[in-house]
């Protein structure tokens, strides 16, 4: 009987591992709520592999602008910042394995990061998820040396003016409109006297163009919550990505030994993730 009991305890112990997996992701619970007053949708096209510039992937980015903050994220990869531990349900406490699906890694899933700008603190907080490992870093807000050009184009009926800047190894062209007095734009970009409606790098590896500008009907709430994310430096997270992209499944199952790759044979294909970071430096 004691053997059986021992087994049960092992089971409980296994669920303890599971618990500790969640715990590791708990971090500072800096949380504030803001009401989004404007939403901009950008069509985002990018070259996932710089050696094959003709292959492009698409994504849709959402930029939500609130009174004291803004948040930019990919539609498909939008991550909730609600804590795992909020309700550790019966199901999760009793499952001994966490199974990740390697095909998620293979897919052209777009942008993993969430960019939160907080002008009062001169911060852009970048939330990232490196194959299951949740982390964030703090970057200086709008550290761009924009050069204003006289060229103009019209996007969504707004006259936009050109500005250029070099940002961490890539040369960018931004088109902003003073008619929308928000010093904001996709990802970390901003700091111009109007909203950026179009953004591209000169090699055209990355291309953002606004497709929709709307006022949310139900005054939604942006929740920025660092709980569940560990703080790192920018270059540390870059390094993590570089290593993890070589063998995502190997990385994820090493960092979280409770992760098990599905036993279905066509799930076990361990592909290298193509690597073409937005910031080269």
């Amino acid at each position: 009987m004691s053997y059986i009991k021992g087994l049960n305890k092992m089971k409980i112990y296994a669920s303890l591992y599971f618990l500790s997996f969640h715990l590791c992701t708990i971090n500072a619970q800096i949380k504030f709520r803001d009401t989004s007053s404007l939403e901009i949708f950008y069509e985002f096209n990018f070259v996932p592999d710089s050696s094959l510039p003709e292959i492009k992937n698409g994504d849709v980015l959402v930029l939500e602008i609130g009174k004291i903050s803004s948040s930019c994220f990919s539609l498909y990869n939008k991550k909730r910042q609600e804590a795992f531990l909020q309700d550790l349900s019966m199901q999760s406490a009793h499952s001994e394995k966490i199974v990740i699906n390697p095909d998620i890694i293979k897919l052209p899933t777009g942008l993993q990061q969430i960019f939160c700008k907080i002008p009062d603190q001169k911060h852009t907080i970048v939330f990232d998820n490196v194959y299951g490992f949740q982390c964030y870093y703090i970057d200086t807000l709008n550290s761009f040396q924009w050069k204003i050009m006289s060229d103009t184009i019209t996007i969504l009926g707004y006259v936009c003016q050109k500005a250029t800047a070099n940002f961490r190894g890539r040369n960018w062209i931004a088109w902003f409109t003073t008619a929308l007095p928000y010093d904001n734009g996709p990802l970390k970009f901003g700091g111009l006297p109007g909203l950026i409606l179009k953004l591209e790098d000169i090699k055209n590896n990355f291309n953002f163009i606004a497709t929709t500008i709307q006022k949310p009907k139900e005054t939604p709430i942006i929740i920025i919550d660092k709980k569940g994310y560990s703080k790192f430096k920018r270059n540390e997270i870059r390094d993590m990505h570089k290593k993890a992209d070589e063998d995502p499944i190997g990385f994820a199952t090493t960092i979280n030994p409770n992760f098990h790759v599905n036993e279905n044979p066509h799930f076990t294909n361990r592909q290298k993730k193509r690597y073409n970071p937005i910031e080269l430096e």
């Binding site: 059986i4 939008k78 199901q91 394995k97 199952t253 098990h260 799930f267 076990t268």
Partner: protein, 882 residues
């Protein structure tokens, strides 16, 4: 020289384009600074900006520019303020502005179609974008969607959390048994898979209770909505003659939805798994009330071997399920879920069991031919109302098992056994949720009736000295019947909004049971009770009033949760044949504390402690002997058991994603006290267990840990794990108090190597030692086992998948020679281009291993069980959708 040239150049530039700077402050009419306002310089009468500045927190700005114009336009704009501009001379100066409030009216613009996204967080996945050639059913695609994982048990998780609903066209047809849909809806019929994030399935709670779970909704193609769709699968094997077939028909209309399936196989696949509920809390509730099948008598079957079930399951199984949903009106829905299983299983095994007793050691050899015939019917009839005002759900359930097991056992002589172990359960579960101004009110009422009329026949008549005054007879019969009525009712109040979340629950639970057991002998068709000491006629009433309160506190580094369940329990029981009445009552507190502490991003600590006290159940007060298996006779002529147990555990985790290293180690201590001690005696082969009043303790400690590291240069992940546990337990053997100390060690290693994107290999190995020793023994009894598994995956093209796997198992114990067992399987799948059919070839047990043994050691009992294994089988499968 260069230096002077540049100075000169600089001076020339300066004279042409002298740098100008304008600074100032932007405030509102109350004098408060306006931040993030943009201040721009442009040429007069031109919209083209030359230079700009954004105001800081103090509302200050500074613009520097170089230009030859005499005057420029300085403009200030900020959100929700009137834009201001004026022409100024192009010289360095200071300009302050005071802006007046005016809501900025923005025009909404949409360039293309609305992106696939709505405010209520619905993510639409177009199935066509994610579909791969090999996909057959929707489950194949769902498993691949970003953010979704599917566990081996079939549970779907979104962002690491189980989904709370699986809808088809917005209707909840299958509740938590969604595996039926997931494994059967053809991938071609589905248009979209929607993820409803933060979905609150109970509409009443929509505005008050935030849900962090998602629901999944299947949107079908229009062509699939009106007609019957389905899937069929055919699998054959010629030698031995095997078959694996499936047929599923589905209809999804607005007025009615159904999924009906039929599956057959005799290849070792357990199709009843998809009928299993994915809801664990419901299962725990059933355990507590005695509403799960827990047989009173059984055939002495060895425990299942430690390999995959498909290797040793000799089955012949038919599973049919009917799932139908009808919306009655906009609020009410009626649903029927029914399943019928007919399964014929057989197994041959041979078991050697050794008992180490204070005076001697003896062993029992059993060769067992066993088969069972199971008929199972389960039906759920549900009425649901899900409106913004209230939530109501009433489920009426019926579960019936008609099962007969037979065994032909050779242990010295031949013993034939027949077991009839049916089980019936009727229950009703009612839940109503309403919202009040400050709290959420939940009323629940649950009641049910369970019947277990069971019977074990053992032939020929054994133990004539004990049961029949040394006279021969034909068969020994144990009748056992347990009837249970139970009800659980509670009111729970949850605070609507609070930083420290609290929940209060008040309820009562009544369990009323009647147990009747009678040991009988049969001679020439006449059945006769053995004696009153082999009979139980018990009535049991348990009343429980409970109150559960829980609090959770969280801050930056800490999370502390505290649960304090209180209950008052009163038990009355009566032995109607002995006319003895007895009872017990007590007030129990069972607190649980969980503390989690994050030292830094890499290190964290987890501590938990719990204490629990409870009474035993009706099986602990059977004063008459009961034949539980053909060689186990036990009684509990003792007062009601009372157990207390305490648990403490702590663990430490280190995780460094930069070095790709993980490490975890933890300890767990437990101690429990029971007022009853079991005395084990042997009369020949017959084991008798008798409960005696004597306080005794069971202690256990477990230390375990895990380490894993990824080596980037070799594209290899390595992992190690270990566990060591030890403990002791007391037992009375042949009237001697014996303390057993048990120890076990486990060590394991894993390796994963990626050779290329087309070839990967995985290896895992585990070594296990178990030691048991009593104070009477000179040396400990030891068993060892080891297992190794290896698999290789090869993907020559997208349409072809090739997998080889092999396993090695080793066991060693004291009384049989050590053994090695080898298994190997091959699996191939192919789907031709533009074909509705896909093909699969599996070969199982290539080495044609015939037997497999598992060793087992617990206190003074050691056993080795050998099982028959399914022979080599090659199966060719075809599946298609219609």
């Amino acid at each position: 020289m260069n230096f002077f040239l540049s100075i000169l150049f600089f001076l020339i530039i300066q004279s042409c384009y002298s740098q100008k700077a304008i600074s100032g402050k932007i405030t509102d009419s109350l004098g408060k600074p306006i931040t993030s306002a943009s201040v721009t310089i442009s040429k007069i009468n031109s919209p083209i900006i030359i230079a700009f500045s954004i105001t800081d927190n103090a509302g200050s700005y500074e613009i520097k520019w170089q230009d030859d114009a005499d005057s420029v336009t300085l403009a200030v704009s900020a959100l929700n303020y009137v834009r201001m501009g004026k022409n100024i001379p192009a010289v360095s100066s200071n300009y302050n502005f005071t802006l007046t409030i005016h809501p900025t009216v923005l025009k909404e613009v949409r360039a293309k179609t609305q992106p696939v996204w709505q405010r209520k967080d619905t993510i639409n996945y177009n199935v066509s974008e994610f579909k791969q050639p090999q996909d057959r059913v929707i489950g194949d695609i769902i498993a691949r969607l970003p953010g979704i994982e599917v566990t081996p048990g079939g549970q779907i998780k979104y962002n690491g959390k189980p989904i709370n609903k699986y809808y088809i066209e917005g209707l909840d047809l299958l509740e938590d048994k969604y595996g039926i849909a997931n494994n059967n809806i053809p991938a071609e019929s589905v248009d979209k898979v929607q993820i409803l994030e933060n979905h609150q399935p109970i509409r009443v709670l929509d505005s008050v209770s935030f849900s962090d779970r998602a629901a999944l909704n299947i949107k079908l193609k229009n062509s699939a909505k009106m007609k019957l769709i389905g899937r069929a699968r055919l699998g054959i094997c010629v030698s031995p003659l095997l078959s694996e077939d499936e047929l599923t028909g589905m209809l999804f209309k607005k007025k009615i939805q159904f999924i009906n399936t039929y599956k057959y196989n005799n290849t070792g696949i357990d199709n009843t798994r998809e009928l299993n509920s994915q809801n664990f809390s419901e299962y725990i509730n059933a355990i507590q009330n005695g509403a799960i099948k827990n047989d009173l008598v059984s055939l002495a079957q060895p425990r299942p071997p430690s390999i995959a079930q498909k290797r040793y399951l000799f089955n012949n199984s038919h599973v049919a399920s009917v799932n139908q949903l009808m919306p009655l009106n906009s609020t009410y829905q009626l649903r029927i879920n029914a399943a019928f299983v007919n399964d014929f299983q057989r197994q041959q095994s041979s078991v050697v069991t050794k008992f180490y007793l204070p005076t001697d050691t003896f062993s029992i050899n059993e060769k067992n031919k066993w088969h069972s015939n199971l008929n199972l019917l389960q039906t759920d009839l549900s009425l649901m109302a899900n409106s913004p005002k209230f939530y109501l759900k009433n489920i009426f359930k019926f579960q019936g098992w008609w099962s007969v097991e037979k065994s032909r056992l050779i242990t010295g002589s031949e013993i034939n056994q027949q077991l009839s172990n049916p089980f019936f359960n009727v229950s009703n579960d009612f839940k109503l949720i309403k919202i009040k101004s400050k709290y959420i009110e939940e009323w629940a009422s649950y009641f049910g009736y369970v019947s277990l009329p069971q019977r074990l026949d053992v032939m020929p008549g054994l133990y004539t000295d004990i049961v029949n005054n040394n006279l021969p007879y034909d068969a020994l019969i144990q009748n056992a019947s347990l009837k249970t009525f139970y009800t659980d009712n509670y009111l729970s109040l949850r605070k609507r909004k609070s930083k420290i979340s609290t929940q209060y629950k008040l309820g009562f639970n009544i369990q009323s049971q009647h147990l009747f057991t009678d040991l009988m002998t049969e001679k020439s068709g006449i059945e006769q009770s053995v004696a009153d000491t082999f009979r139980n006629k018990l009535n049991w009433q348990r009343y429980r009033i409970y109150n559960e309160n829980s609090w959770v506190y969280e801050n930056n580094e800490w999370r502390v949760s505290f649960t304090l369940p209180l209950n008052y329990t009163k038990i009355d029981y009566k032995d109607t044949s002995l006319k003895v009445k007895s009872g017990k009552e007590a007030f129990f507190i069972s607190p649980v504390v969980i503390i989690m502490f994050q030292l830094n991003p890499k290190w964290n600590i987890n501590i938990s402690a719990s204490y629990n006290r409870d009474f035993g159940d009706i099986s602990g007060i059977t004063s008459g002997y009961m034949l539980k298996t053909y060689r186990n006779l036990s009684n509990n002529d003792a007062p009601l058991a009372e157990t207390r147990s305490g648990n403490i555990s702590a663990s430490l985790t280190f995780r460094n994603p930069l070095k790709i290293v993980f490490f975890n180690t933890g300890i767990m201590l437990s101690r429990s006290k029971s007022n009853l001690l079991y005395s084990q005696k042997f009369i020949g082969n017959l084991e008798t267990l008798t409960a005696l009043v004597q306080n005794n303790y069971t202690n256990r400690a477990t230390i375990s840990g895990r380490f894993s590291k990824y080596i980037i240069d070799w594209k290899t992940s390595i992992g190690f794990n270990y566990s060591y546990s030890f403990g002791n337990q007391q037992q009375l053997q042949q009237n001697e108090l014996v303390t057993f100390s048990n120890k076990n060690y486990t060590a394991g290693a894993t390796l994963g190597v990626k050779f290329s994107s087309k070839i990967t290999i995985d290896y895992s190995g585990t070594y296990f030692t178990y030691l048991s020793k009593s104070q009477l023994q000179q040396s400990a009894t030891t068993i060892q086992s080891a297992s190794q598994n290896f698999s290789l995956n090869y993907f020559p093209t997208e349409r072809l998948i090739f997998r080889v796997s092999a396993g090695h198992y080793y066991i060693n114990n004291n009384f049989a020679p050590s053994h090695n067992y080898y298994f190997a399987d091959i699996n191939m799948r192919y789907k031709p281009k533009k074909s509705k059919i896909d093909y699969e070839l599996t070969c199982q047990n290539l080495f044609n291993t015939k037997f497999f043994a598992t060793a087992f050691l617990s206190n003074n009992i050691e056993s080795v069980s050998e099982y028959q294994i399914r022979p080599r089988q090659a199966l060719f499968k075809m599946s298609f959708s219609f």
